[in-house]
């Protein structure tokens, strides 16, 4: 049954965020709560899964089922959950370090599998939680105390990777526009298959210059393409500041048949017995 009285407040837990004041992740929490309310999903029909990082604290701050997982493994947990409980709306969340470094391989295969879930990456181009190491999206010439000469490595383009690997819906949002981001999350959840939402989410502590992003982003600059070649042409010409839906494809989501488990946990335990 759809409950029309649900408001964003219903999706925020009583746990108070410990993110630094000014952190972009507050905007994601706000947008996610708005999106879930707009989708009129009952909190008990939603699961928010994450890895490890500042951004990955988000399940604790949302009022839905939550799983604060292992670093880089949010997509593995989310995929397993969705396959076992297709009735749940699964939203996987995390940072660029969690999703593209240690979790990079899961990212590729989650796109390839195209299980019906939504992946929100709060990209601040840095490891916030562990105090400012560069991530795969950090600019080659960004210098800090930890990396005085910069990495000298070109950053990856997650949206291009998602497209090449088979994600069915690809979009970019910005935390300074929680309403626009909420709309993108709604579209991502509603779109069948694996939906990837890259969110520009400033880390005001280790990358204070990202406060300027609000002057740099271009709203509604990406128009959804159903053709992956057209989307690829656009994403390679993109400077990372265009917001909107890049791609909305038509691949059939992967949903393996669910059946009873063949082995019980006790069987497994026996196999490991010394």
């Amino acid at each position: 049954m759809i409950d029309m009285t649900l408001t964003p407040a219903h999706y925020k837990s009583d746990v108070k965020p410990v993110w630094c004041p000014g952190c972009g992740d507050f905007g994601v929490l706000n947008a996610l709560a708005k999106a879930l309310a707009k989708l009129a999903l009952r909190p008990e029909d939603v699961a928010v899964v994450s890895g490890i990082g500042c951004s990955s604290r988000i399940p604790a701050y949302t009022s839905a089922y939550g799983f604060h997982g292992v670093h880089g493994r949010a997509l593995a947990v989310g995929t397993g959950l969705k396959v076992a409980r297709p009735d749940l709306t699964v939203v996987v969340t995390g940072g660029d370090g969690d999703g593209y470094s240690i979790g990079g391989n899961h990212f590729l295969h989650a796109c390839r599998r195209n299980v019906d879930l939504t992946y929100i990456v709060m990209d601040n181009r840095v490891y916030g939680m562990t105090k400012g190491q560069p991530s795969p999206t950090t600019e080659a010439d960004w210098t800090s105390k930890l990396m005085p000469q910069g990495t000298g490595l070109g950053e990856i383009k997650p949206m291009a990777i998602a497209l090449a690997a088979g994600a069915n819906f690809i979009a970019r949002g910005f935390t300074g526009d929680p309403n626009g981001l909420a709309d993108l999350i709604v579209s991502a959840v509603e779109h069948p298959g694996f939906s990837f939402v890259e969110v520009l989410s400033p880390c005001v502590t280790f990358r204070p210059e990202q406060r300027e992003w609000k002057k740099m982003v271009r709203g509604h600059a990406l128009a959804p393409a159903a053709d992956s070649v057209e989307a690829a042409t656009r994403i390679f010409a993109d400077d990372g500041m265009n917001l909107g839906v890049l791609y909305a494809g038509t691949r059939r989501p992967f949903a393996p048949p669910i059946g009873r488990a063949q082995r019980t946990p006790t069987d497994l335990e026996r196999r490991f017995a010394l």
């Binding site: 952190c23 105090k131 309403n179």
Partner: protein, 166 residues
């Protein structure tokens, strides 16, 4: 009352509700970082915006404010809502009041524009009334600011930061 005026008042009420909610959230953020002075100040601003929301509710005979997330604005959020990105854990009262002043000015301008727009007369009248209230808030915050000292020269210096590169 005509539907268009009801819609306008619902929007005005949502704008105040969103501003109040955001200030309350910002107060919590400041409490989390033990910035008591600014936490209290944001709490006070939340109550002021809440009063304005309640005045509209009373005038309209409504019991509950409409959900702000149902509305869209020319700006990313409502004209009176503070951007999360403007905060700093060491900010001082003056910084917070400057944000509040910016918000009140934006709200006044928003209503002023509506009061001069080519729209039904009854909405323009309501908008003019709201613009006057927002200008009153601007004046109040200006007085408050005049009594508030400038931030310390090195207000953002923290010799023992909660998150720092070791």
């Amino acid at each position: 009352m005509k539907q268009a005026v009801l819609d306008f008042m619902a929007r005005a009420c949502a704008m105040e509700a969103e501003a109040a909610e955001r200030y309350a959230e910002l107060a919590e953020q400041m409490w989390a970082f033990h910035n008591r002075e600014v936490a209290k100040l944001f709490g006070k601003l939340a109550r002021i915006e809440g009063l304005h929301r309640d005045q509209i509710l009373e005038k309209m005979g409504w019991t509950e404010a409409p959900d702000p997330s149902a509305f869209r604005w020319e700006t990313p959020e409502g004209p009176e809502t503070t951007d999360y990105g403007e905060l700093h854990y060491l900010m001082q009262a003056r910084h917070a009041l400057e944000l509040a002043l910016h918000n009140e000015r934006r709200a006044a301008e928003y209503y002023e524009r509506l009061s001069e727009a080519d729209i039904p007369e009854d909405i323009r009248r309501e908008a003019a009334e709201m613009a006057e209230e927002e200008r009153e808030h601007v004046r109040l915050i200006e007085v408050w600011l005049a009594k508030t000292p400038d931030p310390d020269a090195r207000w953002d210096e923290d010799l023992d930061p909660p998150v720092s590169v070791d």
